[in-house]
Amino acid sequence: MSLIKNLFQHKQHNILNVYCTAGYPHLNSTLEVMRALQNNGADIIELGMPYSDPLADGPTIQASNSVALHNGMTIEKMFEQLQDFRNTPAEQDAIRIPVLLMGYMNPILQYGFEKFCRQAAELPVDGLILPDLPEYEFETIYGDIIKRYGLDFVFLVTPETSEERVRKLDALSTGFLYAVSSSSITGSDKDFSAVESYLQRLQNMQLTNPILVGFGIKDKQTFQSACKYANGAIIGTAYIKALEDAEDVNIATKKFLGSILQ
């Protein structure tokens, strides 16, 4: 069973998925950040693979992508860093929680889509989030490859996604469904109360997959609001901001996740 499925079998509420960028803030801080997230209460890690043109992300995450690229991060390097991350010599250092890789199609196509999926599955990470892979391409080419290697694939839905389409994307997704809280890029500041009726609507649809809410989740209040109507939420921009000026990744992560969970 995939770690993601396993997680949702044991925990249906208040799931916290945190986004971080591979190679940020430092080239070799990837695992340190992931450990800090695991140790301080994150249930899932969404590991961003940096890209020069991350369309669906806002300025904060794009800046973290630029820093990571400047640091020399590549897909190859990331796979090297994640080698044995499930079985480290020191047991407390091993990452046991589910990990999804999030990124854009172009770097993966250059790396080789199948090679990418194979190596990701070998590590193993648990799934992929590729916001610019549309369902047409998924159904005709890439979905089969992703499934062949047993990786979960998470589609996004937005308040503008029709019920018919939500059901289709739910059927194509495994792991969970990523409910974008508003039609906006990451890190935007929109009134969260408007989001509640949309989440209520998703909840009433009785979908196959659990739902995690992303975009605009930045503090305890927005996290709790999201959790009222969904299985949990995804935090990205607010955490990257917390890392921006952090002298110590552990302390910054502990402080940030503490502010959300306590």
Binding site: S52, G58, S66, L109, P131, T158, L169, I185
Partner: protein, 409 residues
């Protein structure tokens, strides 16, 4: 009239298939946040574009506002120099000084029919931004233009024009702060306000249906060339059609109605910058690999790790690391011949045209003229060069070039 319903399964040279593919290139690689907008556009653009009311308004504006048809001018002294027959399609004589206005009018009229209240656009050199701001002023619609911070500095006159026309110019401060990043910012702005806003893409790039839609709006160029050439030579068909390619909108328009005529050679000229292998170039077919940029699969200049690289060209309009999927297909199939011209070659071609014909071309269009030096031409050839824009915006570059020549002699 163009057949608006039939989509070939694999797409043709000029029309993509129903999923937006020209052969292996195209598609719509967009995040879900844009799905509804792009889907709405996809399901309605053809129906709206070919509505009689739309066509009536569009054609009237092209005629009375833009000044179409633009002349097809026999460049006699240039022809003599190359010992052949050369016609210039004078897109530089359009209102706002380039072909960009054809598409801007089409898309703004379409946006109105979609009920959109606000227009956004990206711009590199500012020509597309000016064209869009112009049409928005004409129609009284709010207009926001995204422009790289670096381009804002180097294209000050066009920034002033857009502001005078009432557009808001927003600097793109991410990434390399040029056209590619302005496009990212415009797409983001669209994501943030998908219901009220229409994004007017300026070239034959972006997710399906943009490449097809923009190509159709620009196809008026080759539509006119056919009958103008018939009037002048007795035949609708030239031997060669030459156009510069950045994203490729003027080329798409100039090639469009000749793509099914196998005897017409399709010649695209890319910007080689300081030279193809100099690391300072924008010749995408020579340096790019298949990839996904700004919502479609095409050829993209990128590192081995798939990071998009910043191109270079003296001409801001060609300074783009991708190419429209239609052109990638023309390149891959060999239907189009792709040449390139360096910054210096283009400068020389611009000065040559100016002195021989009294026409100061845009630097982009000067690249197209460089093909004349690279092709083996015969006296029996009839060549059409798309003169996509006028050179007023490039005067500071031309002045510098003259100073350099003066200081060297």
């Amino acid at each position: 009239m163009i057949n608006i319903t039939s989509f070939n399964q694999k797409g043709t040279y000029k029309q993509p298939n129903i999923f937006g593919y020209y052969g292996d290139f195209g598609g719509a690689y967009i995040p879900e946040m844009l799905h509804r907008n792009v889907e709405e556009l996809k399901s309605r653009y053809l129906e709206i574009m070919y509505e009689p009311g739309f066509q009536q308004e569009f054609q009237a504006l092209l005629k009375d506002y833009v000044g179409r048809p633009t002349p097809l001018f026999l460049a006699e002294r240039l022809s003599k120099k190359y010992n052949t027959t050369i016609y210039l399609k004078r897109e530089d004589l359009n209102h706002t000084g380039a072909h960009k206005i054809n598409n801007a009018i089409g898309q703004v009229l379409l946006a109105q029919r979609l009920g959109k209240k606000r227009i956004i656009a990206e711009t590199g050199a500012g020509q597309h931004g000016v064209a869009t701001a112009t049409v928005c002023a004409l129609k009284g619609i709010e207009c926001v233009v995204y422009m790289g911070e670096v381009d804002i500095e180097r294209q000050a006159p066009n920034v002033a024009r857009m502001k005078m026309l009432g557009a808001k110019v927003v600097p793109a401060t991410s990434g390399s702060k040029t056209l590619k990043d302005a496009t990212n910012e415009a797409i983001r702005a669209w994501i943030n306000d998908p219901l009220e806003t229409h994004y007017v893409i300026g070239s034959v790039v972006g997710p399906h249906p943009y490449p097809d839609m923009v190509a159709r709006f620009q196809s008026v160029i080759s539509e006119e060339v056919r009958w103008q050439l018939k009037e002048k030579t007795g035949s609708e068909l030239p031997t060669h059609v030459i156009a510069c390619v950045g994203g490729g909108s003027n080329a798409a328009g100039a090639f469009y109605h000749f793509l099914d005529d196998d005897n017409v050679q399709i010649i695209a000229v890319e910007a080689a910058g300081h030279g193809i292998n100099s690391g300072m170039s924008a010749a995408t077919t020579q340096l790019g690999k298949p990839g996904v940029l700004h919502g479609s699969k095409s050829l993209v200049m990128q590192t081995a790790d798939g990071q998009v690289v910043e191109p270079h060209s003296i001409s801001a309009g060609l300074d783009y690391p991708g190419i429209g999927p239609m052109h990638a297909h023309l390149y891959a199939t060999g239907r189009g011949k792709f040449l390139s011209a360096t910054d210096n070659e283009s400068l020389a071609a611009a000065f040559q045209l100016t002195r021989l014909e009294g026409i100061i071309p845009a630097l982009e269009s000067a690249h197209a003229l460089c093909a004349l030096d690279q092709l083996k031409l015969s006296p029996r050839d009839v060549i059409v060069v798309c003169l996509s824009g006028r050179g007023d915006k490039d005067l500071s570059t031309y002045m510098k070039a003259m100073e350099n020549v003066a200081s060297q002699s």
